[in-house]
Amino acid sequence: MAKHHGRGFATIEYPTGMNQNGDPSQAWIKLKPDGRVDVFSGTVDIGQGSKTVHTQIVADALGVPYDWVTMDNTNTDSSAVCTGTFASRGTFIGGNAVRLAAEKVRERILDIASKELEIDPSDLDIEDGEVIARGAPQKKINVADVAGAATYNYGELISGSSTALKPFADVDDATGQVEIEPHSAISYAACVADVEVDDETGEVVVQKLVQVYDVGRAINPTLVEGQIEGGAIMGLGLGLLENSYPYYPSVKHRGGQFGAYLAPALRDMPEIDNVIIENPSADGPFGAKAIGEMANNAQPPAIANAIFDAVGVWLTEMPATPDRVLEALAAKREPTRDGKRVVFDEHLSLKAVSANQGEGFFGVEA
């Protein structure tokens, strides 16, 4: 009876957005006469920080300071359509919508600045709220003055709208098949888990989780780190504590009391380390991909692998509760089939303890 240590890892690839026909997010941006920017988009921030990130995207795409931009994303009357905050689509699809709209606004700013400065728009840049002639930085005009001129001299409301959308594909009449492009962006990640397994009590403690995430481009590194850390701890919950109830609201598929449903608390926190990899996607805003949903997917299998490394049993059902660990350990010590003792064999044992008796499971040849 002892404590055993093990290390396991898991990798994951994950698509961005729904990748179906449609799936739109829209944005509409207007410039007020003082150069301040109002953005109307429908992407709801549920704590992941999309409001901040979208504001950054607009500020960068326009070339104005961050605090000139106001994001109005919570008004269901005034906001543009967003399919929703799910499927890891906030930064990628919602972000593309605000980026594309901002690019149109930028074009209009440059056009009007070009009339004011009498310089071709292609020779102008916008930096930190000023339209500057490339190569002649003394020739410049503030975006606020451009917006004022648009409003009062040219009678124009500078605005731009856009939709990030996967266009509907044609159905091939002969075959009934639809050809859709592959996913717009795939994110990749790996997780390494270090665990300690007590073979007497069956208790598993996750001591360390290392997350390596390819995010395309970390538009806001602290916020994306928050998503990665949050996902890691949620993943720890799925690996060790939390049941999922896929057939909820069937009475057999719901938790009991709040207190009986365990979720990770501060005492369950392992040491956490994150590595953010920037491997830009061609289609994302500033190269960003999305990691919203994948952030908690790699930990449960990494933990299961670490448990195998520690005590040599595969848990094929999560969470790895003490009961399940002890059951698996008992089955390993004394493998039985139809009530008969069978000779222990490392490979055969995989089949004996697996949920479906190994049918098509690990592909181990008997």
Partner: protein, 175 residues
């Protein structure tokens, strides 16, 4: 019954066994304490009763007649965040923010009690009964430890509400 809520004395008309949480939220319109589980299990309803962090969902208002209650509304001001609030802001320790009022109050009481730098383990102990489902524990622990060491600069770039405005709006908000 009377309570001193965030420094002002108020008379309470709710029935005596009403949970303090509902008195605050429904009778007094103080919505900082959040109704999470309402079974004592999550910590989002935490308020300070005479300086001690307590679960307002499990506290009958009659049991604290005359006590001094501090909610998140009574900690710091928009112009001048408390050290713990400033640390949460600087460390990005709030995601959706639902657990934040309870976390900040429990951390404030911990730092007050300790009167100096707190260790990681003390944070785990003091905030152990608070769920953050988002789950920002890493940054919350960092924020509390930094606040206890006085490492956090004051925050001066937050928007301040106009008199009569109900809440702090983001800079330049059209609303």
């Amino acid at each position: 019954m009377n309570l001193i809520v965030n420094g002002s004395e108020v008379e309470i008309v709710s029935p005596p066994l009403t949970p303090l949480l509902h008195v605050l939220r429904d009778e007094l319109d103080i919505t900082g304490p959040k109704a999470g589980c309402q079974q004592g299990g999550c910590g989002t309803c935490t308020v300070l009763i005479d300086g001690e962090p307590r679960r307002s969902c499990l506290t009958a208002v009659a049991a604290v007649d005359g006590a001094s209650i501090t909610t998140i509304e009574g900690v710091g001001q928009a112009e001048e965040l408390s050290a713990v609030q400033a640390a949460f802001y600087k460390h990005y320790a709030a995601q959706c923010g639902f657990c934040t009022p309870g976390m900040v109050l429990a951390a404030t009481a911990l730092i007050e009690r300790k009167g100096g730098p707190v260790e990681r383990d003390e944070v785990l102990e003091a905030l152990g009964g608070h769920y953050c489902r988002c789950t920002g524990y890493v940054k919350i622990i960092d924020a509390v430890m930094a606040a206890s060491r006085g490492e956090v600069d004051s925050v001066d770039d937050l928007p301040v509400p106009e008199p009569g405005q109900p809440e702090v709006l983001p800079k330049g908000s059209p609303a």
